[in-house]
Symmetry: D2
Subunit: 206 residues, 4 copies
């Protein structure tokens, strides 16, 4: 079964404006293809997504549920974000807020969240300092939601186009480690029964 | 072969002062034992560690090399830190700084860093707000050094002793997911040849 | 001349949904009135603001320019934000991104940015850990834009309604210190000629 | 009365090793002198400071109380820190932890903390990404302790020596704004009676 990767481009610029983040994402998609992973990207700002923390359709125009379906169908999830004022973009934050909704949709048996078993990475566009903060917050959030974070899965491109070698290196590390780990977890799903562990904790806290 | 876990308690308080962080660490050690993982902890502040960013013995009294040996021998690495001023403790930061030295000791063949193949978690003591920042920075640093971060591996204890159920829950999630992933990676080491990927990137950047 | 304060409520919830952040903001408005400061709040999510990093009207419906006018007319600027996933809300980030546009509108003589001379504070609603990160990032961003940050200007309310005394204390510290500093700066505007300093730096770097 | 500035160099390298941070600090000291401010720096790692969160002498060799005396005698406090792993240095964190002790030494009448009335800035040495995080955390911590943060008081030097113009510009902005604000606050001390505000909050929370 072919692995699937989804890369969410959280640039502030709507198509067809040039997105530096997209340039790096396209490179990642090509490298995923070499690893026999079917990758696609969504430019989130081209869609209307309502503000909120739920997986449900929040108003008539809200396109989140369709994007969430794509996320749930993927084995690899990559968030691509520029840095603005040292922090991930408002579009990336909006995506993370909507993903909070998945906490409420745990598996009835194991209580694992829907993102359990997926692997996560980030693509950062460096308009300014803050890559570390964007990457660490975003990967930590995704690990809370159930994703596994392999080593060296933060790739980076400078807005101005500098550090070319660094970009080419980090995107390769990212694609290779995400692919390996996704395949490993697909064949060996995390068996943790969170429900039973919660019950044990409740017993102990009584 | 039995898995080994090492938990570094980065409290500011020397023995025999009571450390809230240690209480949670001891619980984790017990839970690791149930999973057939041999866990031990080191109270870092009881040792003298020189300031610096190298793996070498930096002065006559520097005990870092001995601690590093224990880290390298472990399959699971957990950093335990209180929060001070919203940031991980100076002792935890000192440990991370010394771990920068391992970047210089990559495998001559694959260029993988020495911490590749290990899994990482954190134990946070909440004197105040900042658990998110301490966990995300520390796990991200460890993933940069080569560790894999499974889902839900940040456990948390309130300094005052509140949120008992939350603590008991998070420490169980952490121990179970770290153990599963450590076993999986021990049997299926990450094969990524970073050296070859760097060479490809150099070629492309020429 | 009466001082003016503007508080931007960056909750994700549109009116008329109950906003915890608004409850604390209303308290702050009352306390500002006692200090003879005319305060008002805007619930940003009730308005449509386009994504971007410019002060200009970015599309037909974009309401940012009107909000920016209110910001520029105020002496005190307070950002109110809930915490989601340890980070300020997407609405707060969107506001900060649009404020990047003011960098391009420096005074032609002194090169001071339009927010020079204002004072800044934050109101945080604690759904979860992360108040420290939201406050520090937001206040630092505002100081970069030209605002002065007096001591103890981060007020905090727990989503669940706990820590009542802490909230009542921090909101008072915030209002009193913001008011004192705003009055002081209004009477004693920061005279720094950034343009001349840049020219000196250019000379030295030649 | 001549203003005093104290700059704490929190490099990890003991004298006489070359410290990039010190180079920028020396430039700041010269610029302060031009503004008639008497500035000096302390290279903290040359002194032994015990781990802890108290202002008291914690063991026989602990030199913190002498450093704290210098801090208390200064009108301007600047923390100079390199970035390691995206976070301020362990030496800088150690300094901040010890400053927590000043919370316990509030003025008996007004309950203002000992750092009230001072102004704060930072000098960051960029070995890597993370300047934003180091500056925002450190300035926010200092504002909590009582310091006022004027606009544009984070100066930055690249470890490798690049961005020369940016460094020369930011250090000038920092010195001029710190000096102006320190003089203003010395002549117009913040009058806020925190004690009375706490009593009002207690009354309201009853």
């Amino acid at each position: 079964m072919k692995l699937k990767a989804l890369i969410l481009n959280c640039t502030l610029k709507k198509s067809p404006a040039v997105s530096n983040t997209q340039a790096l994402i396209d490179k990642a998609i090509g490298l995923f293809a070499e690893q026999d992973v079917q990758a696609e990207s969504i430019r989130v700002v081209d869609h209307y997504i309502a503000f909120g923390v739920s997986s449900q359709k929040l108003d008539d125009r809200d396109e989140w549920p369709a994007i969430l379906q794509k996320i749930l169908a993927a084995d690899v999830l990559v968030i691509g974000s520029p840095i603005w004022f040292g922090v991930r973009s408002s579009v990336a934050q909006l995506v993370m807020e909507r993903l909070e909704g998945t906490y409420d949709e745990a598996d009835p048996e194991t209580w694992q969240f829907p993102l359990y078993g997926k692997v996560a990475g980030v693509v950062i566009t460096g308009n300014e300092d803050g890559a570390h903060d964007v990457a660490s917050n975003t990967l930590f959030n995704l690990s809370h939601l159930g994703c596994t974070v392999p080593p060296n899965v933060d790739s980076y491109i400078e807005a101005g186009g500098g550090k070319h070698l660094y970009t080419n290196k980090t995107v390769r590390f990212m694609v290779h480690n995400l692919t390996y780990m996704a395949r490993l977890l697909k064949e060996n799903p995390i068996p943790t029964n969170l429900r039973r562990l919660v019950e044990q904790a409740q017993e102990e806290s009584r």
